[in-house]
């Protein structure tokens, strides 16, 4: 292989409104090598990719291409520098033809006029190299997702590619298609193209990648050769082990009432949703803290969304207090005492343009109905009491929620849900992307809530956290519950082994 790296990122830092998405990250990409970027949700993979492909700019740090400082100010500039990208969400144009999607921006032209015939044949050839046989003149939206993904890859390959970035290119491909893609990747590799391959399928990473860089919470964990890194080590590095003051949570007691004689407050029997979750059963008792563990895409979020009415179920029975119910919306669920906090704090949770007070009182007001407006005094009282109880900082209720740190935003969201006095609280990654201090506070808060009789479903990518907080743990892999056991009977190693599918 050649001398220096083709792409060299050093000291990369990116910040979004108070949240640090990437901090002091170094990253190298070599010619003729397939390099995988690994990490959980919010680890900073996408942010790093977006920086390399010119979608966003680094707040600090440098990117060198072939040893030269690169001017990656726009996706167009990155493409001129030889960086081709297939993004995670298929970023194509469904309203245009397949040929245009492959070649738009570099169509063959004759006297300034697009040579449609030449374009169709060029696109056809590019697709044929991927083993795809479709009419290049057909509209993209008429093809299924997997084909569209291959079209996106064909687009990336028709450019003069020096660096190929593939962000989850296989998420909708079947096995044959993946094999075909890998064949192309290998052939490009032999030609000296540097390839960045991101996937959360460990098997694929181990099959195709030479080198792995692991990120966690926006920081670099390390760079490893694939052959030197065992799967279990990789997962460990992705999920992390943080030393946390365990004393805070030492007083965990498993309530006795939770044993078999009592009725579960929510019991789901074989609930499913087509294409999302196969039939799955879950039960949760009063005062219980149920942890859901599993890797990204294992089904942990899917279960949470079905239990709390965000997505509706296709099959199976969901019982709340023993009565079969159908939850049509989160509002439905809330009226039955089930509150859901999304993993997407920014998109599905906090409304940054509203004040902390408004964010806290929002859900309660919605439940009361908009015609019975809460008085300002009542709102002030309510928000003040929650700010105090949850130690939200800064403690000014009139501060815009968007200005708060991630941890405090999370607390505001919790306050909003707690103001509804729910019986079951479903928390999807409540501690993701927040600092260790706030993390411990939230864990403590959740344990306190459970002690006061509330039931909580706690989802986290960090196995250790789940193990420490929960009474009972469900471990998911490939959308299936593979372990359902008391937290005390599980060890971190056994969890790790279960999650990674390696032999324990």
């Amino acid at each position: 292989m050649s001398e220096g790296p083709v792409v060299e990122v050093s000291g990369a830092r990116v910040q979004f409104a108070g949240d640090v998405a990437l901090d002091a990250v170094d990253f190298r990409l070599f010619a003729g090598e397939v390099h995988s970027l690994m990490g959980e949700n919010g680890a900073g993979k996408s942010t790093l990719i977006r920086a390399i492909t010119g979608v966003l700019r680094l707040d600090a740090g440098t990117i060198l291409i072939d040893g030269q400082p690169a001017d990656l100010t726009s996706p167009a500039a990155a493409q001129r520098a030889g960086i081709s990208t297939v993004y995670q969400e298929i970023d194509l144009l469904p309203n245009l033809s397949v040929a245009e999607n492959v070649l738009l921006g570099r169509e063959p032209r004759r006297w300034g006029r697009i040579d449609w015939k030449g374009m169709r044949s060029m696109a056809g050839e590019a697709l044929a190299r991927l083993g795809v046989d479709i009419d290049p003149a057909s509209t993209l939206s008429t093809h299924r997702l997997a084909t569209q993904q291959l079209v996106a890859i064909a687009r990336a390959l028709t450019a003069d590619v020096k660096v190929l970035v593939l962000d989850e290119p296989t998420s909708s491909l079947d096995q044959d298609e993946v094999a075909e893609l890998f064949r192309v990747i290998r052939s490009l590799k032999e030609q000296g193209v540097a390839i960045l391959f991101v996937s959360h399928f460990l098997e694929q990473v181990y099959e195709i990648c030479d080198r792995i860089t692991v990120l966690r919470n926006g920081r670099l964990v390390g760079e490893y050769m694939t052959t030197d890194l065992l799967r279990i080590e990789l997962v460990q590095k992705m999920l992390g082990r943080e030393v946390v003051d365990l004393d805070l949570l030492a007083s965990r007691t498993v309530p006795d009432a939770m044993s078999t004689e009592s009725e579960p407050i929510v019991s789901a029997t074989g609930i499913s949703r087509r294409g999302v979750l196969p039939p799955t059963s879950v039960e949760i008792f009063e005062g219980e803290l149920l942890g859901l563990a599993g890797l990204l895409g294992s089904g942990r979020t899917e279960i949470a969304r079905l239990l709390s009415g965000v997505d509706s179920i296709d099959g199976g029975v969901l019982r709340v207090d023993g009565t079969a119910t159908h939850l049509h919306s989160p509002r439905d669920a809330m009226l039955r005492g089930i509150a859901y906090s999304s993993e997407n704090r920014k998109i599905e949770g906090i409304i940054g343009e509203l004040t902390v007070r408004e964010n806290i009182t929002l859900a309660l007001q919605a439940q009361r109905g908009w015609f019975r407006r809460m008085s300002r005094a009542r709102q002030d009282e309510l928000s003040a009491s929650w700010i105090e109880a949850l130690e939200i900082r800064p403690s000014d209720p009139e501060k815009l929620a968007g200005r708060l740190s991630g941890g405090n935003q999370q607390k505001v969201m919790l306050a909003r849900l707690l103001a509804l006095a729910p019986r079951l609280l479903v928390l999807d990654e409540p501690t993701r992307g927040i600092d260790v201090g706030s993390k411990v506070e939230i864990q403590k808060l959740v344990t306190d809530l459970v002690e006061s009789g509330m039931s909580v479903i706690f989802i986290s990518a960090e196995l250790e956290e789940v193990l420490r907080v929960a009474h009972r743990v469900l471990v998911l892999r490939d959308r299936r519950v593979i372990i359902n056991a008391d937290a005390d009977s599980l060890s971190l190693d056994s969890l790790l082994a279960a999650v990674t599918k390696a032999d324990a």
Binding site: N95, L104, G105, R113, V132, D133, I134, S141, S187
Partner: protein, 339 residues
């Protein structure tokens, strides 16, 4: 175009995606064909009802009387395809007409006046485009501001109508080419040429395809490295220039500049474009469709006049038709998405 070579696929592995049947009408043409069908049905119905409707004279006048609207619709097609809207065109058309009338009145030669009209339209479009692209103003608001500005400027030029006596300008409308029955005026020719150019640019240039890309998904277009910012501004400039041309045609048609000309014309234009099969959300449509849309509008107007009904019925009919078309488009889009 340099390409990276990849070895040919092994004959065994080949994820086969079914090739769609060759002769299938693209979904994007369906609304246009629907508009053509409606036009034909209206022609036939009017012919049956009025007896003498489909005459060469009427067909010729249909084209000539709506020439200004065709030009506006051509420009509007660009804007709507990009996912935007331009409410300023009626007012800009009136303003450029006023400006021309005033300049001609004070003795400015027509060879200067006409380029000035086009330039005025282009500048107005440029301002709107910059507001939309660089200041993130909603196209609706930006072009509304442009509309008020242009309309206000009309009153600054003159409150009264200004008669136009220039033989060149009037000749655009009064020169009749052809025999007594079939005829075409220079205004009609200009309109057809503008439509043809618009169709060519949209179909065969990189800029044209970028407009479709932006209307399809701005985000994707940017990630693909297409010149989004430039194209988005240019779309409004084109619409402005078209408004300038329409100002010329309308002045020639009415032989005067008047500050209350073209009130509501922007809405007629949008209606014609949408009836002609362009999706209001952008990304799908054709300049030829907009031509059909204008003709549908014209036939409705003429039929209402033939009936001797109040002219407000034109608007009502257009409104109903527009509603029907928008619903049809939604259904088509929904069906396409279900794929």
């Amino acid at each position: 175009m340099s390409q990276t070579n990849v070895a040919a696929p092994t004959p065994t592995a080949g994820p086969a995606t079914k090739r769609p049947p060759r002769l299938r009408i693209r979904t994007s043409w369906v609304p246009v064909l629907a508009a053509v069908a409606i036009l034909i049905i209206m022609f036939l119905a009017a012919q049956l009802y009025f007896g003498r409707f489909l005459t060469p004279r009427l067909l010729s006048s249909l084209l000539v009387d709506n020439a200004y609207l065709m030009v506006l619709a051509a420009g509007m097609t660009f804007v709507i395809l990009s996912g935007g809207i331009d409410l300023s065109v009626g007012a800009v058309m009136a303003f450029t007409g006023m400006l021309a009338a005033k300049l001609l009145l004070i003795g400015v030669p027509v060879a200067v006046v006409i380029p000035t009209m086009l330039a005025a339209g282009a500048v107005s479009g440029l301002i709107i485009g910059i507001m939309v692209q660089y200041f993130d103003v909603q196209p609706f608001i930006a072009s509304l501001a442009g509309m008020f500005l242009a309309r206000g400027l009309c009153f600054v030029v003159s409150l009264e109508a200004i008669q136009v006596k220039d033989p060149t300008v009037l000749g655009l409308q009064s020169t009749k080419l052809g025999d007594f029955e079939w005829y075409l005026t220079p205004t009609g020719i200009i309109a057809l040429v503008v439509i043809a150019i618009a169709a060519w640019v949209l179909g065969y240039t990189r800029f044209g395809r970028t407009v479709y890309a932006i209307g399809g998904n701005v985000h994707s277009a940017r990630l693909m490295g297409l010149p989004v910012a430039r194209s988005k501004v240019l779309v409004y400039v084109i619409s402005g220039i078209c408004a300038g041309i329409a100002g010329l045609l309308f002045t020639s048609y009415t032989a005067a500049g008047y500050s209350l000309n073209g009130i509501g014309t922007e809405l007629d234009t949008i209606a014609a474009v949408v009836i002609g099969g362009t999706l209001l959300t952008g990304g799908s449509g054709y300049a030829l469709g907009s031509l059909i849309g204008v003709l549908v509008y014209g036939v409705i107007k003429v039929s209402i006049t033939f009936l001797g009904a109040d002219s407000s019925w034109t608007r009502i009919t257009i409104g109903v038709l527009l509603l029907a078309f928008v619903v049809v488009q939604r259904l088509i889009v929904r069906r396409a998405n279900r794929h």
